[in-house]
Amino acid sequence: MDEALVLARAQFGLNIGFHILFPSITIGLAWMLFVFRLRYERTRDPAWLATYKLWVKIFALCFAMGVVTGVVMSFQFGTNWPGYMNNVGNVAGPLLAYEVLTAFFLEATFLAVMLFGMNRVPGWMHLASTFIVAFGTTVSAFWILALNSWMQTPAGYVHDAAAAGGGGTLIAGDWLAVIFNPSFPYRFTHMLLASGITASFLLAGLSAWRLLKAPEDSGARATLRFGVHIAAVLVPLQIIAGDLHGLNTLEHQPAKIAAMEALWKTERGAPLTLIGIPNEREERTDFAIMVPRGASLILTHSLDGALKGLDAFKDRPPVAPVFFAFRVMVGMGVLMLVLSFTGTYFLWKKSSLPRWLLWSLAGFTFSGWIATLAGWLVTEIGRQPWLVTGILRTTDAVGKASGAQLGASLTAYVLTYAAMLLSFIVVLTHLAGKGESR
């Protein structure tokens, strides 16, 4: 790989990885805000209003971070990957445009009513605005995951050799097949649940942080309870959804599964590697701890099911990053399951949480970020060397920006993002530490 390709990927990966942190909060948090607002509408209990007002500030912050990094992405499609639009623009372009048209304006406009309009519009309109923003975030996820899933498992396209113009010869034959491509329902569900979990751990974590400082804050106790309970429901659902998603990947992108599990050779009754160090040159996993027949059992639900190994694929992704990222994601999922169940147990038995558990939850405030990022690394690196599976290679889409240009702008992005992330976390913990009194 040449320098420009590596830098272009590093830059785009950095940006898209930084961007996804914020939607992964806002999609889930928007619906939780709607619940808070609805409870206030029903009960007229000022505590719910105070909760809403605190968390809507945090939402606005996440939303703004998502908007500004999203603007960057819309440009980087062109600056970093001109070959993307030149080859599959006739399919990918409209999906992106629909996201802007049906979601972005809706979210940005009604967020203003949510934030600043409480005394300017009737109560029902304010409630409706909260709903519209939550709906908008979900619609936005719908389109972007339709596009990403299409890149993973393309469907519904035809070649029009006579096509003239700037978008290449590939066109959509059936838009419904493009949107509802084979991996879309799984990926969309997986991402919505991920966002719900990320937001519930953020809610529980920041509330726990507040309770460590002010144990009598009843608002923080309510949001802690809310976050822990939602997490205890969503994490098990996510494990089921993840398993189904994995089986779907096995069917449509077996090379990705082989990399995730470091299956070097095609065999029956393949063992499950719990942990180890993939050795790409020797095509084996060093220091591996294995469960005999485990991989076959999980992936084919049969002890001697046949699994294709990496040796069966000419085009295969780099193994180590996919292998490790997958283990980080699953590991986080298991820890989150334990923590949310333990929390639910204590809330049920004792109605309050011991300090060690509050500290654990506070430590897990951003755990959803780690799991979500790891998951995206698995699916995106696992698609390589393809940008669009079987259609367009990443190397054929890269732009011709020089290494110096990429390096200079990458440095600027890294510095900006580092400062933004630091400020974000400081402001968030500061806001939550102060509680709802202000």
Partner: protein, 325 residues
Amino acid sequence: MNQPLILVFTALMGGAILAYVVLDGYDLGVGMLMPAADRDQQQLMVNSIGPFWDANETWLVLGIGLLLVAFPAAHGVVLGALYLPVAAMLVGLMLRGVAFEFRIKAEGWHRELWNWLFWAGSFIASFAQGLMLGRYITGFASGFGYWLFALVVGGAVCGGYVLLGSTWLVLKSDGELQRKAILWARWGLMWVALAVVLVSIATPLASETVRQRWFSFPNMIFVSPLPIATFAAGLWIWFSLGKSDWKPFAGAVAIYVLSFAGLAYSLFPYVVMDRLTIWEAAAHPSALRFLLVGTAIVLPFILGYTLYVYRVFRGKAKGGDIYGS
């Protein structure tokens, strides 16, 4: 056969970019004026754009999105050639976006720091946009003169945004801040006038195509209403400042619409000056048709609720923390 379809998308893209320039232009302008105001006034200024800036910036995503969707071949060429100014603009937009959110939650010197970053981000983004425009008009030609031209356009766009921002403040404020805004608007207008003269002299020198379109007979007669109307809009702003709250802003918007029409006339049918036409760069009709259906349904709603929000937040901006109020 596909010409009407391509023309519709050219108009949509142009409309989205014009909407962006006017809408984000006023809030970038307000950002650039921050250091000229005292602390209470800064709060008022920020409050005056609070409910709007997110949606304003969305028009940029739509404009770039339509470039990407409708003219995929041009998207790569344009953004590739503008790599560094685009990166600078994006860093500027990010700085001001997050500074806007963070400054509300900060106190003491933290708030001063975010105020400063808000100004810096607004300035960097505005100047970079001007630079992009300057490079774009000349078809990304290389050479010292062309870069100098781009720098002048960068300065001109800053002046234009200051004019929009200050007339917006005339509309949204009263008292001392409004008096200041009137003064800023006069400076902004003079700045714009100087820039328009400079750019009007330089553009025909920089581009043969533009010279042909504007300064050959009989074109000159047909296009002469544009500069005359722009001049009239300038006078309208100058003489309505201090007498009317809304007229100066309307005049500033008119200047933008007229300049944009002039630019569109200079370029058409090129999407990359002298190199790539809209007909060559356009996406496949199947993609355009699919998108047109949705656009026809959704765009009226977007315009409708945008107007609704401007109505909800009409009137003079108030001081203090406007969250939850």
